[in-house]
Subunit: 323 residues, 2 copies
């Protein structure tokens, strides 16, 4: 099977909203009248963003999920995406699973594959996603204000750091006593972008970001761009029972250094608490207050004994290595 | 230098037209009123689309050029792009050259880098480019009509196949008698997207495509989607003096199998010949008629002796190998 048959078989459907979809030099989109276009691009590389053992269907899901998560963080409604795929060779089993996972998530969010590029090469997946957002209403990183509550979203019964813990278990950096690995692996391979929550937070949240590089790193971006500081209540951070059973250093690394959470971190005024709770219920996702925006620069993590954690784990940096 | 400092130093400028550029979860674009948005994504992988010896500045140029070429082929006006870059390590010399080449071409076309992603990994560059095109006026692959002229663009004094010949010389598949390699290498590493020509052809050309995978392959896409056939006059194909000095089999491979030309191939009615010539002069690029669209399916390459070439070299397919 050649490149063009591959595209035809696995990545071509009749366009729905797009004026022109896969198969020409360009896709053509008719912008939604009166809306701004939010754009995000994420590149996933084997061995960096996913393991070689990832099920293809999960990879298709995750590649789109991490991009939808960026749209969620700015409160946009997903509309379309392009796919760039480098593959070592044509592998129909891989392509079948990958495209299934990709389309399942796309259909769940009403977002359409409109074009892209397929080539031979080391396995990597680049997606550019488009969304609509009303002018001036996008959530941004630079809007946090002193006195705001800091919130994070979390899955029912779950929390931050499970994806990181899954990776640590696979790397023998952490051990599991019980049988919780399936849930951890699910957190790592099947992140759920908080698209509905992001949209519901427009007009409520002052600032938002999605947690992809870990809480301290991503919160640090919000604080730097908003020119504020913050205090986090460590005991308030949502964590799964599996993570809560880990030794304290592992918990700290996973909760604070984290990575691959794809939950929303946002700030909102105290007066908006009931509205934030209603937004989360409508979006069927948990939210919890984890701290407060302060005037003093920097991030302080307050531990249960009242002391401030001296050196919180850093967020992930692709060229500086793990937290 | 970490990921975020790298982005800040090499890939961040104040937004011009974009509402929000690099540095948040999403870029925000205000669509041009009354225009459709043309979108194209291309992924370039080391060893596949460029050699490890490519000068970084040329790579920055080429990565954007091949995407602008897709916009050219649909007659769109470039507006913005995102960049996904996987790098084995932070290499400031590489980044300086790469970003210089990228921004030089971006500035030449008034197109703005609005976001993207940087990660560690095997060297590859993915760009998604956006352009404006008036509703219903985009050039497409499926509009060629029986009786249309077939045209290709070409550089002054140059033609098709020089990039392919450069690659063949580097791979010892072809030899150069004289000192023409600098020009060939320039064709391979510094393709010039025919953006102005593409825009000027709106309303004139019935169909268009950019030549990235070779003449027979790309023309084949146009013919298949337009449900027509064509005859090409081999002796009319524009070729540089360097290529014209090659043995006939090399010329055929390079002209017909080609690859990496990034010229426009388009069809237009005979009545439009003067207008096509004027469009090309305004765009400061050469154009030449190379054949005719016919009702009979398939592609016939007419040789100087009057015979049809039995097996023309195929176009490039990333999973089927070279022509």
């Amino acid at each position: 099977m050649g490149e063009f048959e591959l595209i035809e078989r696995y990545f071509t459907r009749p366009p729905r909203r797009a004026v022109q979809g896969v198969g020409d030099d360009c896709a053509l989109l008719a912008p939604t009248p009166g809306q701004w276009c939010a754009v995000s691009s994420d590149l996933l590389v084997e061995g960096r963003h996913f393991l070689s053992t990832v099920p293809p269907r999960a990879l298709g899901h995750k590649a789109l999920a991490v991009n939808l998560s960026d749209l969620a963080a700015c409160g946009a409604t997903p509309t379309a995406f392009t796919l760039m795929l480098a593959l070592p060779r044509v592998d129909e089993s891989f392509l079948g699973g990958f495209s299934q996972g990709l389309y399942e998530l796309a259909d769940a969010h009403g977002v359409e594959l409109v074009g892209g590029d397929t080539t031979a090469g080391p396995l990597c997946v680049g997606i550019t996603v488009f969304g609509d957002v009303p002018p001036g209403q996008a959530l941004r990183r630079d809007g946090a204000r002193v006195g705001d509550d800091l919130w994070v979203s979390h899955p029912p019964g779950g929390g931050l750091g499970d994806a990181r813990l899954a990776l640590e278990v696979l790397r023998d950096q952490a051990q599991l006593a019980g049988d919780g690995f399936a849930a951890l692996r699910r957190a790592m391979e099947w992140p759920q972008p908080r698209v509905a929550l992001g949209q519901a937070l427009r007009g409520l949240a002052h600032a938002a970001i999605d947690l992809s590089d870990g809480l301290t790193g991503d919160l640090g971006h919000v604080l730097a761009r908003s020119r504020v500081g913050a205090e986090i209540d460590y005991s308030a951070l949502p964590r799964s029972a599996v993570l809560a059973a880990q030794p304290e250093p592992v918990q700290q690394r996973c909760l604070l250094g984290g990575g691959d959470d794809y939950e929303l971190l946002f700030s909102a005024p105290a007066a908006a608490r009931p509205a934030v709770q209603r937004a989360a219920e409508a979006a069927r996702v948990g939210v919890i207050r984890i701290g407060t925006v302060q005037a003093e620069a920097g991030l302080r993590v307050r531990m249960p004994d009242g002391r401030v954690l001296p050196q919180p784990p850093r967020g992930f940096d692709h060229f500086a290595g793990d937290a």
